[in-house]
Every structure is written in C-alpha cells, then in structure tokens.
Symmetry: C2
Subunit: 226 residues, 2 copies
C-alpha cells in the first residue's frame, strides 16, 4: 500500500450462516430486522466490524446480541467468503465477511434479543434482506463440498450416533439419498470413527451400535471417500 | 446492521498471491515496497480497496500498476481468505481480502512499474513484509487441497501437455513424488482430459501423446481421485 492519508473505504460488516439439523432437515438461523433498511424482513445475523475488533469478535457480538447464541460454544466455524458487490447495501458500499458455523441443538435465546431469532428450513426460506439468499446458497454449496472431503459433519451430530443417523445427516445436507451399503463400508474404512460400547435402542428396529468421531475437530478425509 | 452514523471500520486492502510453475518449481509473484512501512522489503502485490470499487477491481488495479500483470487475462483466480488480525499493519487496523491466481508464463512488466515485480520460488522466500509469509503458506495449503479435488491445475499448464508434464506439475505443487502408474490410471479414468492428435517430441524419450483439458474452467473431480 502507498501512503494515502485520505483513504475512504467500504463499510465492513460480518454475517453469520449458522446451520443445524432439526428432525433430519437442514435449518439456518435468521433474525428479523428491527431497523431500516429492510425493516421487518428476515436476514442473517450480521453487524458492523468496528475498528479494533477482529471479524471473529464482531461475529461473537452479533450472535450474542441479536440471537442469544454463544459463538465460542459452536462446535465449528469457518470463514466462508467476503461479499463485495458495491450495491449490496442500499446505504452505500458495504462488504460482508461471512462465516459458516455448524451446530447441534443450538437454541437462540429469543427473549434476550430484539431480533426474533429463528431457525428456518433451507428448503423453505422466507424472503430475505440484502444478498442473504445468495450467501446462504453459497454456504450450502460449500457445506456440501466440505462434508465430501472432511469430517465437518461431526459438528452437526450428537456426540454418539448410529451409522444410520450419520447417513441421514449426510442425506439432509446433500439433498439426496445415499446407498446404505457403500456408505457404511466407506465410513468404517476411513478410520475416523470409534465404536462406543453402547447400543441405541429404538422401538421398531433392533439395537444399533453407537459410534463417535475420534476427533471433534476438522480433518481431511482420505480422498477416496465419495 | 443497526443505523450507526459514526461508524469507523478497519481499512480494507487486497493482496494477490499469484502462483506459476517455472522449470518444474512453484513460484510466487512478489514486489519490492517503494514506501514505508517495510520500505525495500518484499511483499505480495497489494493495495487499498477504495469505496465504490469491488475487490476484483482493486486487485486488477494493483496487479497492473505494481506488477504490470493484466489481471483479467489470468486463467484462474479464487478468493482465498480475509485476514483480519488487528495488528497486521503497523499503521493501524487493516484487513486484507486475499485472492489466489494461477498463471502460465505470466511475465511481470517491470519497466512499467515502480515495485520491481519478480517471481520467487515458494521454497526459498525472502524476508516478507506484514503477515505475507503466512498468507503465502495458507495459499499453498489451499492450492494443494484444490488440485486434489478439482481440475485447477489446468491454469498452471500450457494448453497441450504430456501426462508426464501433468504429473510433474502436481509434484511441484504437492512437494512430493507420485506413483506414475497410479497417476496415469486415475487421470485417464477421470474423463476431464482429451487426447490431441499431436505428439511431443523431445530428444531423449520416445514421442509422448499430448493431452488438453476438455474444459479450462474450474470443475470438481470425481472424489475418488487421490
């Protein structure tokens, strides 16, 4: 950079795409705007990135204030993309550094906030403010890619789960069914799951073995996993 | 975002990580700083993102002015990450939206610029300004991941190439040797290469078939490719 005292740049904001599974379907957290522009419309939780705070700090503040979610307790967060269309905010040039988080049973604390945080199914989104629909669709594409070559799905799962639950989670994110035999064979060959000595009991089926991830942090899967 | 007229945000800059292969080794484009801070040190080509211009427009300006490179002629550019450590610039809180570009035989036009643009081997980087060494190492990691599950390598290659040249390009990026038989078998099974009806002639070896990529734009490879 050259010395340039009169620099005028875009406004910097952060937005959060927080996904979780609810009853075998992929949901995303939205808040209802309490201010203009887009007053009353649904939007991703977002806000300003002020001078002196990192984007992570800004994000933690936004999720706490607007959705009652404790950002640092979320099992996985990844920077997604910086959206920079100069016309994306009607108030003027504003870029958004977006993050994707994955959670399991995160509950927005609606009563502490002013922005009515709620989870919506990704397949049935309401009308959204700004370019937030594009951001969610981009995040979904990245999530699908991520679970195809990393263990990121762990962050959407309970600590212990059956292989059927794991497959159901994949199917919810990918939006299509997977072959049960291939799925099991591949996952058990990957050496990222450990059996527990517990069984899941549910009425209709015979008890199934419960597994856990050996590591609950992001790792790349062997690329032969489909 | 809430209405907030007194917003003061970080300065926004862009930085370019431009990789290319030179004599079977991975190189990155650096420029020599003509201003404080870090006067005289090597750095990624970078500069301010002004209000009213996208990060791509800022990047195109930077690469043209500081390195004599025509950004829009580069075969592949991907947004990498937004680096946001508040102390990364000694002048004050400055975020950098970084991009990774891949090129084949891009030549910096040194005489038109003030910043001495040169390609350096990634394995022998000089002392670098800011957090630019971290940015390059992050980009290298992403490039390795990208070529493992996409056809991104096309952007580092000439239009026509032998399978040996393709393997050599992979080895240069990955930093280790690959098994020739497996490499060929996998690539030919992927259905992303087309044979040309030409042969490469070089003295010491028997002529080898020249291939081209069916598409010279980013596509995901079958995940069974290692």
């Amino acid at each position: 950079m050259d010395a340039e005292p009169e620099y005028q740049g875009p406004v910097v904001t952060v937005d959060s795409v927080l996904f979780q599974l609810i009853q075998n379907e992929l949901y995303v957290l939205l808040t209802q705007r309490a201010y203009e522009p887009f007053l009353g419309e649904w939007a991703l939780p977002g806000g300003y990135n002020h001078r002196g705070e990192t984007t992570h700090e800004a994000l933690a503040g936004v999720l706490g204030r607007k959705a009652g979610i404790e950002y640092r307790a979320l099992p996985l967060t990844m920077q997604l993309y910086t959206f920079d269309n100069v016309a994306r905010d009607p108030r003027g040039h504003t870029i958004s550094v977006t993050y994707m988080s994955l959670a399991h049973k995160a509950v927005p604390a609606g009563s502490d906030t002013t922005q009515n945080p709620q989870f919506f199914p990704v397949s049935k989104l309401p009308k959204l403010a700004y370019d937030h629909k594009d951001i969610i669709l981009y995040a979904l594409q990245r999530l699908r890619s991520r679970i195809s070559h990393t263990n990121a799905i762990f962050a959407l799962m309970p600590e212990k789960f059956t292989l059927t639950q794991l497959q159901t989670a994949y199917e919810a994110v990918l939006g299509h069914k997977l072959d049960k035999r291939n799925f099991r064979k591949r996952w058990l060959a990957l050496d990222v799951l450990a059996p527990t000595d517990e069984l899941a009991k549910d009425g209709a089926h015979r008890p199934a073995a419960l597994y856990r991830f050996k590591q609950r942090k992001l790792q790349t899967l062997d690329p032969t996993f489909a």
